[in-house]
């Protein structure tokens, strides 16, 4: 044993002492004192480096490297502490000893629940080979009604109370106008989804809003059938609500599809047993769908017999309401931050730090 010899564990001890002294140095002067004490001409580490010659040759390089590394780290620490002192942090303890104190926090944010649900839906359809298409919200009567096979002055227009800008221009009541706009510009085959805002001139109540999000789907090819429609819609419902959800197609009427259907899924609340939410039917309507009407193909400039296709449309607000059991559609546009934040910050009932 060499009494004044230096070894690895001694060096670690030295680094520990230095670190603690640096971190508690209250000002630049005392910091400089610490620096001189360790790194100065007669500093502990300088002396240690000089004494390296007393070690057996085989140990010298390792100990030398260790000393240099420690010197570098101490330098960095001093630099860091200097900045802290300059920032006025000098009188705070760097680690106050109670890890249960809350961390420094920033404001938290997150996406709107409607967009969160819409993104999930889009991702499912992207996976199925649908591409995105868009259209204007202030739309021509032509695309919203006429080209979708709504006869002029026909009562079927009454089922969709419309906001008008003038005789020819309106706020679209559905995302379906995108169908014709897209087909005018693209040749089949095509498979698109088109989400967007739509407008209905209805006095808002818990289940009706004057503006809401809808999403259209359209698939046109040589031999697309009702069977294909059932396939895609069923896949979608299983992907979004789980494969236990059952889907059924009920005949219905839309001017721009024929045959047309309304699509129901098993009630999320009672799993089909029947409850007040589903009006005891066990089923909940989630979308309208059908085979594209030949007249719509004519308006789009396709030879009607050359292709067949299906289309569907769903209310994103409605799906979000079903998914989260939201009781009133108006909450979705009310933008109460306490309502919105529960979808990314946890339930409102939880106490926030």
């Amino acid at each position: 044993m060499q009494s004044e010899g230096i070894d690895s564990s001694k060096l670690e001890e030295i680094e520990k002492t230095a670190t603690s002294k640096i971190n508690t140095a209250p000002d630049n002067e005392s910091l400089e004192e610490v620096r001189i004490g360790f790194l100065g001409r007669k500093g502990i580490l300088t002396l240690a480096l000089r004494s390296i010659g007393k070690l057996p040759p085989a140990q010298r390089p390792a100990i030398g490297n260790q000393i240099n590394a420690i010197k570098q780290r101490i330098n960095t620490l001093i630099e860091f502490r200097k900045n802290e002192i300059a920032d006025g942090g000098g009188d705070e303890e760097p680690y106050p000893g109670d890890p249960s104190l809350p961390g420094r926090s920033c404001w938290e944010g997150g996406p709107h629940v409607l967009h969160k649900v819409l993104r999930e839906i889009k991702a499912i359809f992207y996976g199925m080979g649908y591409s995105l298409a868009e259209g204007p919200e202030v739309e021509l009567d032509y695309y919203n009604f006429e080209a979708l096979n709504f006869p002029p002055e026909h009562p079927s227009r009454d089922t969709q109370d419309t906001f008008y800008v003038n005789r020819d221009i309106l706020l679209r009541t559905q995302t379906s106008p995108v169908q014709v706009r897209y087909m005018e510009k693209h040749k089949p085959p095509l498979r698109i989804i088109s989400p967007g805002r739509v407008y209905r001139n209805e006095t808002p109540d818990p289940s009706h809003a004057a503006e809401f999000l809808q999403m259209e789907g359209l698939y046109v090819d040589k031999n697309v059938s009702l069977a294909d429609l059932r396939n895609d819609v069923t896949y979608f419902v299983h992907a979004l609500f789980g494969s236990n959800a059952r889907v059924r197609f009920r005949p219905h009427f839309f001017p721009f599809t024929e045959p047309s259907a309304e699509v129901d899924m098993t009630c999320f609340a009672c799993k089909g047993e029947g409850c007040p939410i589903c009006q005891k039917t066990g089923w909940i309507e989630i979308m309208g769908a059908g085979m594209v009407h030949p007249n719509v193909f004519k308006y789009a400039g396709y030879a009607p017999d050359s292709v067949t296709g299906f289309a569907f449309g769903m209310g994103i607000d409605r799906i979000a309401m079903l998914k989260y059991g939201i009781d009133d559609i108006r909450r979705l546009l009310n933008n109460d931050i306490r309502f919105l934040s529960q979808f990314w910050n946890g339930p409102v009932s939880e106490v926030q730090d």
Binding site: L101, P102, G103, R104, S105, C106, W107, E108, G109, G110, P111, H112, H115, F125, Y126, G127, S131, L132, V138, E153, H154, P155, F163, Y164, V165, D168, I169, L171, R191, T203, A210, E211, N223, S225, L226, A227, D228, N231, Y235, R248, R250, P251, H252, F253, P255, E258, P259, Q279, T281, M291, P294, D305, T308, L333, N335, I337, R338, L340, S341, W344
Partner: protein
Amino acid sequence: MKVSLNWLKRYVDIEESAAVLAHDLTMFGLNVESVETKGPDFSGVVWGKVLTCNRHPAADRLSVCTVDAGRDKPLHIVCGAPNVRAGLSVAVAEIGAVLAGGFKIKKAKLRGEVSEGMICSETELGIGDDASGIIELDFTLTPGESLDGRLGHSDILLDIEITPNRPDLLCHFGIAREIAALYNRELRFPELLKLERGEDFSIRIENGNDCPRYSAAFIDQVEIKPSPEWMQELLLAVGLKPISNIVDITNFVLMETGQPLHAFDRDRLSQDSILVRRARPDEKIVTLDGTERQLNDNVLLITDGERPQGVAGVMGGQESEINPGTKRILLESATFGPRAIRRSRQCLKMDTEASYRFEREADIGVTVEALERACWLIKETGAGQPSLHYADNLMDNSALETRRIELRVAQANRIMGTQLAADDLVELLDRLGLESREAGETVVTAVPTFRRDLKEEIDLIEETSRVYGYENIGREEERKNSLFASISVADRRNEDICFYLASRGYTEVITSSFMDPQDITRFEWSRRDPRGNPVKLENPLTISQSVMRTSLLPGMLKVIGRHPVPDREGMRIFEMAKVFLRIDDSQGLPEEQLHLCGIFTGKTAPLNWAQKQRSFDFFDMKGEMEALFRKLNNYSDIEFVRQKEREPDHICSILINNEKFAECGMIPSRIAGRYEIDLPVFYYIIFMDLFPVQGFSPTRFSYISPYPGVKRDLCVISSDRITFSDIRTVIKKSSKHLEFIRLFDYYRGDHLGEGKRSYTFRLGFRSPENTLDDKVVDGIIDRILDNLQKKLQVSLRTE
């Protein structure tokens, strides 16, 4: 539309329970929205069968029975009725059921024998006076099935959603026809009093589009009295108030056949004739509801040739109204054009059962049959003596022809995804009353007048799919995969930005597309400003929602204003959405621009023991924007310039290559005040359409120097005519080894001298080739100072 189950049963056998029928109709395309039971409540009363019946060991007049009521084990019931015997179908009140008069069934012991329910008599159920014995049911159900709606005068109402293409379903007979098709059952037609054409009566029609057909029947010796009880019951069930025999019969026929009828008191007509014409602007009429109405030439009238006697297809007139003294009747059964009725109805703001049906195109082929039906009822109930001749003016004979449609078998299978044969299709169509026959590769169908909604092949394909059953189509079909998705880069960029902002602590909001015209005044936008000239709605919900938004700001401020003051401690919200500017395109549509708006108010961070809270300010916002711009584009020259012409102190435009890409600033407090906000509010609006859709992405990676960098601090003094941006540009151009410039102190105190400012920078240098030594860095610093002095008269701060 509400239909009565009892009424439907007049035309078709219905054995199914209401619940089953409602489900089956719904799946057939007639969406049953609700099922409602009218009359006595029989909940807890079920159909049962007596299995055994033995004398009570302790009481002569009692029997001990076992009854199958659908439970696991037969019920043990003690019964006192003399007519109870094994094999009988009975009404069983289970334990818990509440009978007439509130009598509740409990488990009981009768002279030592347990009784688990009661076999009911008419009085116990409150449906009759016969208390002498139990009811012997003459129909069979599954044991345990509810007797709701199957006993006494009770009825079940189905509320069915009728889509506008199916006017034929706006009546009981039409619904019954669908039920017959659904279950493949026989349909019973209502009884008619056969009438001959040829009554000598003048019916003139001004325009065949307004009124394609007008038929009339004539009744003498009318005796006004109440209608028969069975009719009153049915009318009441569907919500019509019985009035008198003649009025009730017209209503009954309307609800039965869908054809609106109107009865005129023939003696009150000023001339014995009918003329259907448009009203003249100076005319008036008092309608049956007692209202005097000013007319114009949009309104179609029934006149007697001289005076208006009714608004055609909407409501009759008071002048010739049926009254207790009426002796002779003219019964109208006409077809009016949907557009004419729509205009009349809109003009007079009246909605009636009749107008609703005419607007959806009433069946032109049924006018005479409806008269014959009414006459049969009038004769049968002794309401009067119908003439055996009717009068009829049919403007175009071809209107009654059946329409022939050819259905290609291959096309039907192509659309449905099925492999049906021609005769399968014929069978499916026949069930709906659509007479069809096979013709090689096609099926030819003759469409009767009541299904005018069937116009072409695709309509027949829909009918065949419906009868075949959507649920039977395509269970095993494989998904075709000829197409692959292309993800929209713009959409993905927008989603990325939204996620990014959410992670920076912003809450995403979705505000209304509508704006209040008042918002324009509140924001002081002039009419020349596109924001001051919005797209207006002709028929808004309210004035405050009457224009399309031209900016996201008003909606965003309202979100803040809606939160109570204590909740505004730290609000950072954003929305990415469309605004509508009147830069009309060739089709007259406004330009829809995608904007991103961020709004900040309150503190920069939540209250926390370890950090100082301070108010959000302009440079916090600028920092937000700078970080965002790095995600949106890779232009380096983003300039924030004051928008001098308007709000010199508060608002900046953000220029990239001299084009305005965004705007930011503090909302002037007088404007914020108009939204009930008294804290400073900072905002930015970024015009998303102006940025490249892919967002920022480098084309190649950059080389990272392995050598250490050097830092130097530098303090300079300048005049206030020089901006930070000028100084930064000079420094940047002075050295290729410059890695960063951090301004960490800025000062404009008095002792510097009038109009002087001092800036302290930390500059970082790094070379890709070697470690920079002090001499080289000193040289760079000298060059920087030299350039600053020469170009900007900015000098080193010395004291």
